[in-house]
């Protein structure tokens, strides 16, 4: 049996795990990202944690074929170099793949976290029976990964997949990215919460106060209230799905994929969002490609980060 190590790097936390060639997690753990350390120290720390995890796992290191590292920020997947990591700037310019790989004596590959999630779903999750797979993550922002003909499409400067920054309304809300009407402004965390509060401020009844998330209205709180039947929460989620469907219709017309795999926190609301998204997609997209595409929830859930990151190595090595 072949194994792959996945490192899901984030500004506050690092998840590391080992998966087997079927995508099952053998072992996993999580660690703190110590942002007071230098870039080289962070690299060494991650490698040490991974080495320790391998040691405890019972997996023979020589059966681990490689390491996949998923990271937020701007990076070069061909060289393995991080370019701009917003919350950990000492990593800018650091060759993460080479640094971690050489510590472990294993081939290591870097890609962004949304491409990692999409690869994970493609190899082991909702997208495993398809070759044209578009992954979306709905969280603070809206991210995307695009697999066409079984290959991740990274583009000319490795920035392809910014689905959150499709404009769905040329004269819409200004987005800090410089565009107007970006999808993320409507169905990213702030977009959802802002819409909810706008309706609430008009006096529409809601039981949201029973579900607050550390005292705040968040997409998670809205999803919990909706699951219990709160009408305003249900309406805001349905509206979120409808807006998602507008973007999926454009992607369907332009790229004619086989499946959209939707992950990220709010996607846990499942069909409360996905059913209106499907409905809007079918209304708006051409019939032939609309009938050819599925809209499915991500299958990997909490392990999406580790399995996805490991899948970066699977994509490179498992041919």
């Amino acid at each position: 049996m072949n194994y792959y190590l996945g490192i899901d790097f984030g500004g506050t936390e690092i998840k590391i795990g080992i998966i087997d060639e079927n995508g099952s997690i053998v072992t996993k753990d999580k660690y703190i990202t110590d942002t007071s350390k230098s870039g080289a120290e962070i690299v060494a720390h991650i490698a040490d944690c991974a080495q320790e995890l391998i040691g405890k796992s019972g997996v023979d290191q020589k059966n681990i074929r490689g390491v996949g590292i998923g990271s937020p920020g701007l990076l070069n997947p061909e060289t393995g170099q991080l370019k701009i990591v917003t919350n950990v700037p000492q990593l800018n310019g650091v060759n993460f793949a080479e640094g971690i790989g050489s510590h472990l004596g294993l081939p290591a590959f870097l890609d962004n976290d949304v491409n990692a999630m999409t690869l994970g779903e493609f190899f082991f999750g909702a997208g495993k029976d398809f070759k044209h797979v578009i992954g979306l993550t709905l969280g603070t922002g809206v991210g995307g990964g695009i697999i066409l003909n079984g290959e991740l499409h990274r583009g000319a400067s490795f920035t392809a997949g910014e689905i959150g920054h499709m404009s769905i309304n040329a004269d819409g809300l200004y987005c800090p990215c410089g565009n107007y009407g970006c999808l993320e402004r409507y169905i990213g965390r702030d977009g959802i919460v802002t819409r909810f509060k706008a309706y609430q401020s008009k006096g529409i009844a809601t039981g949201i106060n029973e579900y607050l998330d550390n005292g705040e209205i968040t997409p998670k709180a809205i999803a919990m209230a909706a699951a219990d039947g709160d009408k305003l929460s249900l309406e805001v989620l349905a509206e979120t799905g409808k807006i998602l469907g507008i973007a999926l219709a454009t992607l369907t017309n332009v790229l004619n994929p086989e499946i959209f795999v939707i992950g990220g926190g709010i996607a846990n609301a499942g069909d409360l969002i996905l059913e209106p998204a499907r409905h809007e997609l079918i209304k708006r997209a051409y019939t032939v490609p609309a009938q050819a595409v599925k809209v499915a929830p991500a299958a990997l859930k909490n392990d999406a980060g580790i399995v996805g990151s490991a899948s970066i190595a699977v994509a490179k090595l498992a041919k």
Copy 2:
């Protein structure tokens, strides 16, 4: 030297030509599409015309490697079958590639006309130094072809590339396709003319009457008036470019291409449209992919149809 035969099929006219392996046209001619004939008769007629053209060309038939056929409508590029040809319904279901290819004794390949144009620009035109090339044709409608990593992306049901039916305004103009705010509604032929007439009806001065196209205001008339400095025409073209740029920004964020190649009638206005498009793209798209992409006019001009169609065969055979 290798040669390729290109057949640019249309509802009123068929252009046939032979290109050499550098994309230069050796010979070409055009023929009438006789829509009173049966599907089989149309196939036989096209093959006879092509055979006669080969005979007169001086090219030895054994040096012709294959035939590429570009057609409007819905079709299957894998089987070579036409599915829905709006203006010539007797061709629905006809295997165009097999029919024409067997008459000529040459391998023949079918694809849609916009994919053909994009392949032509990719092999022999403005896109020849690039591997991620998006072609757009601005005409009655707005078509698109997408080449990623040197391969045409056709998608799950061979309908990818419907760039004219990206929604740039979720609540915008209704489009007969079922969507709202489709790019084509704003910068297709009717969109451009409607905008022009709306401004004109407000009394904005224009010298358009000197340039009418068979007595009508058309994009061609507007482009001619603009070339001579007519202010309203210039403004409508600049606006057309700006709207195009909105869509190109979304495509840049999502697909991170190296070049957009813009063809079709109104694209002959060149920088009067393309410069505002570039400006809007840079304003709206992420900096890194925006800096990585060019917006260029199609290079093949009047021969785009023949060279593009022949390029369908080049893509299949010239590896």
